[in-house]
Symmetry: C2
Subunit: 676 residues, 2 copies
C-alpha cells in the first residue's frame, strides 16, 4: 500500500459522492405503490418538520421519536419548524384514529418526496406511524451527507392483522425486551403484539384478585399490572395492539398450583418444568371455575383494552376429564359426548364471560366447536386448510402455521407461506375473513439473551408477507433488504447481531474469538423437532441454562442464502466468473485458516468442546472448496473417486452435532456435484 | 493444515485438560487475604448449596441469583440441597445486617474451598453478597469442566464507601441501564449508587407534590416514583445504597422552569441545553424557598431510605445573588458578607430541613462552610488536599477527584489515585474520616448506548482501589484481571464490549466492518478538556446526537496497555524476543492490511469521513513499525533521517482528529526511539 494509491482511493470516493447517489431501495416491507423520480432532498442543518392539519399528543410523540431517530442516524438535529417558516417535511393527518385501535384501523399513508420537500399524508395517527417507518428506511447516504430520494409512495397493508406472539411463560422475558421488540415490530409495520402470558410453565401476569396465581405459579417472574399497562401504552404509541393470551382449559398447570380447586384432578400441583402436552386442565363442570374466570377476566379487561382476548384452547388431551368420575357424570347429565363436546361447553361459558366484559374471543384451531358465534377469531397453527374450513363456516381467522420462529426455518421458508395462497378456492367473502397472520416465538429454547436473534430479522420477512402485495416475492431481493433492515433494527437497540459474539466471548472466556467467529457464522441451530427430541431424551427442563453454542447461534444467518447465491452465480459459468471465484476462494481460505487456534479455543471450554468435530469439518469443506474451484475454473477434471469422497464428507457434515447444523452444506454439494 | 496436525492439536488439548488446571487468579477486587492450597472442587451435576444458619428472603434471593449465574456459566444446574443431604457449598450467615444499609454495614466474609466442599461465612447478608461475587470470579475452566480452586480467603473492604455516581440529568438513562449498572457494581463489590437526579439540563425524578418539576423541566424524560423505588429495592438486593442528589442552590435551572418563584432572577426560564456553569440559582432569602424544599425533601425521603441525601452545593457562581438588590439587602440585613456566606446561610436552613426528615447531608467541597455539623460528608472533586483539610476540621469525606470517568483517563490513572495516599500526614483519627471514594460519570457526552463503555471496565479498577489493600497496586496485573472482569461484566448483560461494533455497523451501514474494527481498536476519545473546548466552540447542546465515531470508541481499550507492555518487553532485547517480534509484526501487518476497503467504508459515511486521516496514519504507523522491528531485530541501523521522519509522523498522529486520539502513539515513539 503506497500513499498515492491511498489518496487516489480517497479522492475517487469523494468524487463519486459529489454526484447524486443512486437510490438503493431497502424498504421492508415493500410499499404497495412506489414511483421513483429524479433528484434528491438533502437532510442538512435546517431540515425542519411541521404538521399542517390535525395533531395530538400521540402524533406529536410519533414525530418527535421519528425525528430523534433521524437525528441519531444523520447527525443533523431536526427541529419543529417555527410558526410561519417553511418545513422540509410536512405532516398532514386527518384525525387521531380509533380510541382503542382495532382491526379496522386505517393504516394507509402516502409519502411524496421531491427536491423541494417531503409530504406525509395519512388519515390517522397510525397511518402516519407507518409513513414514518417508511421515511426512516428511505434515507440514503453518501460521504457528503444524507438524502431522501424523490419518490411517490401510496401504501396500505394487504392484511389488517400482522402479529408477533411471544411466549413469556416457558421462559420469562423482562419488560425492556418486550419494549425493544415493539420497537422492531413498529419498524416493519406490524400491529399486533400477542402476549402469551400463561402456560404450564409459569403464570406471568399479576392478579390482585388472585395473588396466588403468581405467588405460587411464577417463581417470582411475572409482570406487575403497572408494567403490563406500561407495555400497552408503549405499544399504542407505536400503533400496536396488545392481545393477551390466558391459555385455558389445558396448558393451565401454573393456574392450579395456587388454586388447586380449579383443577380436574386432585392436587397438590407444582409448576411444570418440562416441555410438551400435559394432563392438567381446568374443571369445566364447576360453577366456581366460571366465577373465578369471571373475576379474573374482569380484572384483566381493566389492563388490556383490546377488543380481543386470547383464551388459548389448544392441546387439551382430555385425560383428566376422562379419568374423573364426577366430570364423566356431568358429561352424561348434560349429554356431552366426548371431551371435545365438554370443551365446547366450556367455551360457551367462557364466551358469556368475555361478552360480559366487552371482549371478543380469539383462540387456536381447537376452539372451532359447534355453536360458537362468528365473530370469534381462529388462530391456526394447523395451516391454511384448517383456516379455510373455518372461513367457509363463517369464522374469521389468522394464520400462524408456517410462521413458527422456534422451528428454526429460514426467512425464505416463512416468506413463501401466504395466508391467502395463490390458487386458493375461497370466495371473496371467505377470503376477506382471513385477517392476516402472526409469527410465533414459542419459548422452550429462548431466553432474554437470545430472543432477539430468534425473532429478528426473520420476522421482518413475515411482516412483509403480511403487509406487501402478494406479487412482492423475490427471495434474493427479500434477503438483500432483510440484511439492511437487520442493521436498522440493531440501531434501534435490538441485539440480534451483537449477541452472537458476546456469547462466543462468554463461552471462550476471551475476547480473541476471531477463529471461532468464522465457524459460528456458518452454523445455525438444528430445527425444532430435532432439538425437542434431544431435549425429551435428556429430560431438559426450564431450569437448565441456554448457554451452549447452539443458543448463541442465529437461525438462518447471512451465510446460508448469500453463500448459496454466490455458488449459484459462479456455477452459471465457472471459467468466466473471476469475481465470484475470488470471493469463494477467500471464503474457503478463511475456513481453513486459524484452525489450530480454533481447536484450542474450543477444547478449553466444555460447552464448545462438544462441537469440536465442526472445526475439522469446516477445514475439510474449505479444502474441498478450494480444490473444487480449482477444477471448475480451470476446466480440469477431478481425480477418480474425488467427488464421491467429498460428498461423503458433506453427508457427515450434514449430521447434527450438539444441536448445531451447517448453513453451507447444500451449496457445497451443488458446487462439488458440478466438478467433472 | 493437514488432518494429522489437527488431530494432534486436539489431542494435546484434551490431555492438558485432564490434569488439574493451574489456578488463574482473575479476582477483582483482590481480596485482603488469600491462601492457595492443593486440589480442586469440581462443579458437576449434583453440586448443591445449603444454608446452615440464618437466612431470610434477601439472602435466599442472593443465593438463587448467584447459583443462576453459576448455572449459566457452567451449564451445571445448581440446586438447593435437599434437607439432610450433603451440600458442596455451605452458606453460614449470622444475621440480616442493617435494616437500612449504612456506612457501618459489616461486609466482611470468608470463603474456604477444599476438594471436599466450599464454605462461605459472613456476619451479614451483605457480606455473603461480597463472598458470592468472589466465588463467581474464582471459577476455573478446562475442556473437561468447571472447578473451584482450593483457597482460603478472608476479606473485608479497606473503605466503607465505594460509590459510582451517574449523572442522569445531562443525558437521561433508562431504568434498565441503571439496573445493569447496579449488577456491574455488585460484581466488583461497590456499595453506593449516587444518583445525580437534577441539574440545569433536566429534572429527572417525579414529584407528586410539585408536578411541574418534571412536567416543565424534563422533556418527559424522568423516573416515576415507582421506578425509583424499584431501583432502590434492586440496589438493596445487591448490597448497594442509593444516595440521591438534588443539586442546589446552583445547577438548578430545571427546577425553576416550572417554579420560577424559586429563582433569584426574573423568569421565564427554559431548560438549559448547553454545558458548563450557569447563573440560575435558588433564592435563599425567601421563606417560600425553604417551604418548597421542606415539602420536596420530605417527599423524596419516602422514596430514598438512605441516611444521606446529597444536596450538591457546587459551582454556584453567585452572579444572580450579586445582581439582585433584594438579595443584596437581605445579605446586609443578616450580616452576610459575600455569596459564600449566603450559601452557608442557605446550607444551615437546608440542614434543618434534612434533619427534620431524618437525613444527613452530603455535598461537594463547596458545602464546607463555617458552622456545619461534623456528620456532614464532603465529596471532593477538588482532591485529597481539600479532603484532608476537611478531615482536620473534623469532617468526614470521600474522594472523587481522580475518579472522573468522563475525563477519558486510563484505568491505570484512576488506579493510582488513593483516597489515603501513602505518605499522607493525617493522624489515624483524621484518616478514619476518609470513608472512601466515588467514580463519577458526568453525562455531557454519554447516552444509553455508550454509557456502559464509559463506565466499564475502568470502574472495576477504581472499585479495587477502594476495596483492596493499598499494597495491591501492580498495573500490569490489574489490567490482566480487568480484561477478565470485562468479559464477566458482559455476561451480566453490560454492553461495553459489543456496543463498539454495533455502532460501527450503524455508522458504516454494513456488517462487513472488519477493516474499520482494526482502526477503532487503536482509537479512543480525546480527553474531556479537549472535547469540552471543541463543544463550546461548536455550541454543542444536549439535543445533538452522540453518533460520531468518538462516541462509539471505548476509552482506554486493551490496545493501549497491552501494546505498551508488548513493546516494552520486546525492547528489553529485540534480537532475542522472537515471540514478541512476531506479535508486533502481526499487529503492524493488520494496520496496513485492508486499507483501501477501510478508506472506502469511511468515505461513504459522513460521520466516518471526518476521521479519514486516521486511516492513512494507521497505515503509516504499521509500515514504520514493520521497518522498526526489522532494524531492531536484525541490529541493522536505520538510514539517516529515518528516525526523525517517523517521529514527525507520530507527532502528527498524536493530534486530535474529530475528537479521537490513537492509543498506541506513545509506545510507537518508544519503539522508534530505540532504532539506531
Amino acid at each position: 500500500m503506497t500513499l498515492p494509491t491511498l489518496a487516489g482511493t480517497l479522492m475517487s470516493g469523494t468524487v463519486a459522492a459529489q454526484t447524486s447517489p443512486a437510490f438503493v431501495n431497502t424498504l421492508m416491507p415493500e410499499p404497495a405503490h412506489l414511483t421513483e423520480g429524479a433528484g434528491w432532498l438533502p437532510i442538512r442543518p435546517g431540515f425542519a418538520v411541521a404538521t399542517d392539519k390535525f395533531h395530538d399528543q400521540r402524533l406529536d410523540h410519533t414525530i418527535a421519536r421519528a425525528m430523534q431517530q433521524l437525528t441519531q442516524q444523520t447527525g443533523v438535529v431536526i427541529r419543529e419548524a417555527p410558526a410561519g417558516s417553511k418545513a422540509a417535511l410536512i405532516i398532514s393527518v386527518d384525525g387521531p384514529g380509533e380510541p382503542v385501535q382495532g382491526v379496522d384501523e386505517n393504516e394507509s399513508y402516502s409519502l411524496d418526496v421531491t427536491p423541494q420537500g417531503a409530504h406525509l399524508h395519512a388519515a390517522t395517527d397510525v397511518g402516519a406511524m407507518r409513513g414514518f417507518a417508511t421515511l426512516l428506511q428511505l434515507v440514503q447516504v453518501s460521504g457528503q451527507g444524507y438524502y431522501l430520494p424523490t419518490v411517490s409512495i401510496q401504501d396500505a397493508p394487504r392484511f389488517p392483522w400482522r402479529g408477533l406472539m411471544i411466549d413469556c411463560s416457558r421462559h420469562f422475558e423482562p419488560v425492556n425486551v418486550i419494549k425493544r421488540t415493539l420497537d422492531g415490530m413498529a419498524a416493519v409495520k406490524m400491529n399486533v403484539f400477542h402476549w402469551h402470558l400463561t402456560d404450564d410453565q409459569g403464570f406471568r401476569i399479576e392478579s390482585k384478585v388472585f395473588p396466588l396465581l403468581t405467588q405460587d405459579g411464577s417463581n417470582g417472574l411475572f409482570y406487575k399490572q403497572e408494567q403490563a399497562r406500561e407495555v400497552v401504552a408503549y405499544a399504542r404509541a407505536r400503533g400496536i395492539r396488545v392481545v393477551p393470551e390466558f391459555d385455558i382449559p389445558g396448558h393451565a398447570t401454573s393456574w392450579i398450583v395456587g388454586y388447586p380447586d380449579l383443577a380436574s384432578a386432585k392436587g397438590p400441583f407444582t409448576i411444570e418444568r418440562h416441555f410438551g402436552v400435559f394432563n392438567p386442565v381446568l374443571d369445566p363442570t364447576r360453577e366456581s371455575t366460571y366465577q373465578f374466570l369471571d373475576q379474573f377476566i374482569g380484572e384483566m379487561a381493566t389492563i388490556f383494552p383490546d377488543a380481543y382476548m386470547h383464551i388459548g384452547g389448544d392441546e387439551n388431551n382430555g385425560v383428566e376429564w376422562a379419568h374423573n368420575p364426577r366430570i364423566q357424570a356431568f358429561m352424561r347429565e348434560h349429554g356431552l359426548k366426548g371431551t371435545a363436546a365438554l370443551q365446547a361447553y366450556f367455551n360457551q361459558q367462557l364466551l358469556r364471560i368475555l361478552d360480559k366484559h366487552g371482549k371478543k374471543m380469539i383462540g387456536w384451531d381447537e376452539i372451532m366447536t359447534p355453536g360458537l358465534p362468528k365473530d370469534v377469531v381462529v388462530q391456526s397453527w394447523r395451516g391454511f386448510d384448517s383456516l379455510a374450513t373455518g372461513t367457509r363456516e363463517g369464522y374469521t381467522g389468522i394464520l400462524s402455521a408456517g410462521y413458527y420462529l422456534d422451528h428454526m426455518d429460514s426467512a425464505a421458508d416463512h416468506y413463501r407461506v401466504d395466508p391467502l395462497p395463490a390458487g386458493n378456492k375461497l370466495t371473496p367473502a371467505q377470503a376477506a375473513r382471513i385477517l392476516g397472520g402472526e409469527a410465533c416465538m414459542w419459548g422452550e429454547y429462548v431466553d432474554a439473551k437470545n430472543i432477539d436473534s430468534r425473532v429478528w430479522p426473520r420476522t421482518a420477512a413475515i411482516a412483509e408477507r403480511l403487509w406487501s402485495p402478494q406479487s412482492v416475492n423475490n427471495i434474493d431481493d427479500m434477503y438483500r433488504r432483510l440484511w439492511a433492515e437487520s442493521l436498522r433494527l440493531e440501531a434501534l437497540g435490538l441485539t440480534q447481531i451483537s449477541q452472537e459474539n458476546a456469547s462466543l466471548r462468554a463461552l471462550a472466556g476471551t475476547d480473541q474469538i476471531a477463529p471461532l467467529q468464522t465457524l459460528a457464522t456458518v452454523l445455525e441451530p438444528v430445527n425444532f423437532a430435532t432439538r425437542a427430541e434431544w431435549s425429551d431424551a435428556h429430560h431438559v427442563t426450564t431450569l437448565m441454562p441456554l448457554d451452549r453454542l447452539v443458543d448463541a447461534l442465529a437461525p438462518d444467518p447471512p451465510s446460508r442464502h448469500d453463500f448459496e447465491e454466490l455458488v449459484s452465480t459462479y456455477l452459471q459459468n465457472p471459467v468466466a466468473h473471476p469475481e465470484q471465484q475470488a470471493a469463494l476462494e477467500a471464503i474457503f481460505r478463511s475456513w481453513t485458516a486459524d484452525q489450530p487456534e480454533r481447536v484450542l479455543l474450543m477444547a478449553e471450554s466444555p460447552q464448545l468442546a462438544e462441537t469440536l468435530p465442526r472445526a475439522r469439518q469446516l477445514t475439510e469443506m474449505g479444502t474441498m472448496g478450494l480444490e473444487a474451484v480449482g477444477f471448475l475454473s480451470s476446466g480440469v477434471p477431478a481425480p477418480p473417486a474425488w467427488k464421491a469422497a467429498k460428498l461423503a464428507i458433506l453427508d457427515e457434515a450434514d449430521q447434527p452435532i450438539a444441536l448445531t447444523r451447517f448453513t453451507v452444506v447444500q451449496a457445497m454439494r451443488n458446487l462439488i456435484n458440478e466438478v467433472k
